[in-house]
Amino acid sequence: MSRAARRRAALNLTLALIGLLGAVLALGLGDYPLTPAQVVEALVGSDSGFARTVVVEWRAPRVMVALAFGAALATSGALFQSLTRNPLGSPDVIGLSTGSYTGALVAMAWAGSGRLATTSGAIVGGLATAVLVYVLAHRDGVQGFRLIVVGIGVTAMLHAFNLFLLARLREETAMTAAIWGAGSIGLIGWDRALPALAVLAALTPLTVAAAPALRQLELGDDAAGGHGLRVEPARLAILALGAALTAVVTASAGPIAFIALAAPQIAQRLTRSPGTPLLASALLGGLGLLAADLAAQFVLPMAVPTGAVTVVLGGAYLVDLMIREARSDKTAR
């Protein structure tokens, strides 16, 4: 391991610690404020007083979901950006979140706005969009830039279709849909958080297993193939994994922009890592969504959906990224 690699390990540890501290802090914030010491006491202590209810039942799901969903989105973004070798190759840019929204809207329009219908609609929509983009971009294998261009086109079409569906929905269903579409983790209690967290936990070892293949693909298809990687199956598996991570999050919380796009880029600059670092991206994504959610709750004069905060930040970031890419003019490959 080189010095650079050891430095990255230390940085990851630091990020994890900040995440832990942030979580304890966040668990204390709200109408019933608690000091960090009280939070820890409520978490690990034996008494089952009001503080424990507040921390464990009310606030913990939201904090857990922020960290886990942020990590999942960022990991998904890191997988896609690494495969496409492009900072714009992020699941929200190539249409997966929009496709999940389409799936949820279709489910609401035809199967009612029950949670199961919406969730499965969103998952199916996200994955179907991934398949659609993959197939449309496929020509003797999938090349990164084509995937992004096709993805942006598909996003635009789905977005138009979403507006059409929203206009056709009954008013109260449309309200539900709009709230979901803004992306919020505030309404998620343990009952909804646990299934999603369980799926993400199941996807984690798969991501760890995919990491070596991802590092090989960074070297180019020939070098990766020469090292014994089966290039196209590996790429397909990683795309599927990335799509699944985004679909699970979007199905529970609605589309949350920015995290998947920005966390891997920030992680890469921070760690000065070769290629897109998975672990640092995940840690930063978790921190980022937690921070965005706290800002949505406590910083702004009125509470807004988390997705609204990330969209504003994400929009600014995306514009900045595009200007820089256009200037350096080294995107297309």
């Binding site: 391991m1 080189s2 010095r3 650079a4 690699a5 070798r85 003797d140 297993a209 070596p212 590092r215 090989q216 960074e218 070297l219 180019g220 020939d222 070098a223 193939g225 020469g226 090292h227 014994g228 990687l229 089966r230 000065r272 890592s273 070769p274 290629g275």
Partner: protein
């Protein structure tokens, strides 16, 4: 007894999509030799190399490694026998030399089975053999072209294979670095590696190869020791270039000197 050849293409038909590159091509790689594949542009040299490395599966025919088709062997098992330096590889931005070389260890690693000491030893040895040990902590993208190519070769060496294939390893290098790379390959060959390289320069091919495979438009024109195959007639037939072939004043290997160009094409 060691077989005379471990790797060979048997009547392979090679194509990219609908574009046919070679039909019924047969070529054997002498074991322990330094084989160089030469031929005009687009004659299928690199395609043959890719097929030998299992990057391209033949439409018909097969590539044999120790008598078994490589298509039927696990990819990682093949990659522990045959290393490849592709024409273009991408160094992830900012990667340290040592970390890039270590990526060559991939075929020896699996999720459940790792031996960090062996990986480490192979990386150290590969960097020493290519003379990049001093650069271990440096970023690959800050190196000169010649150094970078030695790092890529080190990555292929870390793969610890008996056979190493190199696709135009000297392209993009100045003459001094070209010679440096070819000398390096010769020393690897002397230490027991079977080396196969695609080269453009006929004189370098003739000087360094122990065995030449001369190709034209998807077929093998001739094979053999450079002193036997590199003749005025062959160069004129394959490249359409009238020339003189003289003994190289330094090594005595055939030296191709073009006459005033009256290209026949």
């Amino acid at each position: 007894m060691e077989p005379l050849q471990r790797l060979s293409a048997q009547a392979v038909t090679l194509a990219y999509g609908r574009r046919l590159v070679a039909q019924e091509l047969t070529a054997a790689i002498p074991h322990g030799g330094f084989t160089v594949i030469v031929g005009p542009n687009a004659c299928g040299k690199s395609t043959l190399l890719r097929a030998l490395a299992r990057l391209l599966s033949p439409r018909a025919g097969q590539v044999l490694l120790d008598g078994r088709s490589i298509a039927n062997q696990p990819t990682k098992a093949v990659a522990r026998q045959i290393g490849l330096l592709p024409q273009t590889s991408i160094a992830p931005p900012g990667i340290a030399v040592e970390d890039l070389v270590a990526r060559g260890r991939y075929p020896h690693q699996s999720l459940l089975q790792r031996s960090p000491e062996r990986d480490r030893a192979a990386v150290v040895e590969a960097m020493a053999a290519t003379g990049v040990s001093d650069l271990a902590e440096q970023a690959v993208d800050e190196l000169s072209g010649g150094q970078r190519q030695r790092v890529w070769i080190a990555m292929a060496l870390a793969q610890d294979t008996d056979i190493i294939l190199l696709d135009e390893p000297t392209t993009f290098l100045d003459i001094a670095h070209q010679v440096e790379v070819l000398e390096l390959l010769t020393s690897l060959n002397r230490r027991g590696k079977t080396v196969v390289a695609v080269l453009h320069d006929l004189n370098q091919a003739a000087r360094y190869a122990s065995h030449l495979i001369v190709m034209a438009t998807g077929r093998v024109v001739t094979t053999g020791a450079p002193s036997e195959v590199m003749t005025e007639a062959l160069v004129s037939q394959v490249f359409g270039l009238p020339c003189l072939v003289l003994p190289d004043p330094v090594t005595g290997s055939p030296l191709v000197v073009p006459r005033r160009a009256e290209r026949t094409d």
